[in-house]
Symmetry: C2
DNA sequence: TTGTGTGCAAAAGCTTTGCATGTTG
DNA sequence: CAACATGCAAAGCTTTTGCACACAA
């Protein structure tokens, strides 16, 4: 087993512990489906939608329903193990959140490619605006849209 | 006629001229429906969804269809007279764009209230990230989510 | 054992499409 | 008058809900 996949197994173990504690605290049940979905999400590296997750699990012969996928995604978003995005499409996209630095996204409107970036100024803006507008700012979403220069000619969606 | 509504009439005249030029340039037809929808949008002050616009026009006995509302909204977004947002819901929201300073949004997740703010650091981030990621950044979306302190107790949606 | 969670299928909600008709250029 | 835009209704997609059964506590 390579170093990186070993690290992944560790992360999966950690997030399962966190999820378990969260379920316990909220008096929700610890079902095998919930942990399986969590694990599937953490084995992905992309920005997926609920249907892609459902299809992928069905393809592996898991017995799971869309309802449970949506339900579990919401639970995971609530305990900050998964983040939910809207990249200007009609469908929500998700990605694992634990152990990954908070980041924002830059999206190519031609090919659908999604890249990630960090900028400390966002935190400053959140703090300042929460102060000015008298809001308790809990999270944010920053998406930059444009075209990747040169390398992209297609219309397909990626990542 | 008050000063402010006079200003509004002027803006409406201006945006109609802009839209007209855009349609001409793109070889699209200048139909009365398209201009009526544009005017309706510019008489609003909120962040509305397509259905609300459609309903409001039907209530005024305009003969218009959802298809035309969606089609025209897209045309108006394309020529920067209207901006389209996703405030973390499943429905897209729109607002007029011409003559209004570019701004971002802070959304109360309890009551749905939407406030607007400006911060010059966003432009700096766009420029820098476009440079670093080799993207031609054309637009962006920044939403801050949280709760408005004190004043909000309801669950309803506003603005 | 009790009630929450699940799978399945149907419903709901937003958006797009097909088709016949109307209207612009 | 030819092509495009429209209204209407139906279809498409994503997400939610209802119900009977399964299973965690």
């Amino acid at each position: 087993m390579s170093h990186t996949s070993e690290a992944l197994e560790n992360i999966i173990a950690e997030v399962k512990t966190i999820f378990s504690a969260h379920l316990e605290k909220q008096k929700f049940r610890k079902t095998p489906e919930r942990f399986t979905i969590l694990e599937e999400i953490y084995r992905r590296t992309d920005h997926f939608d609920a249907e892609a997750l459902y299809i992928h699990m069905k393809a592996q012969n898991y017995r799971v329903s869309r309802a449970t996928v949506y339900n579990t995604l919401e639970l995971l978003v609530n305990c900050d193990l998964v983040t939910k995005h809207q990249f200007g499409e009609n469908t929500a996209r998700y990605e694992k959140a634990y152990g990954y630095r908070q980041h924002d996204h830059i999206i190519c409107v031609n090919c659908g490619k999604v890249l990630e970036f960090c900028d400390p100024r966002i935190q400053q803006i959140k703090d300042m605006m929460g102060d000015i507008m008298n809001f308790n700012v809990t999270h944010h979403s920053l998406n930059l849209y444009g075209t990747c220069k040169g390398e992209c000619g297609s219309q397909a969606s990626e990542n």
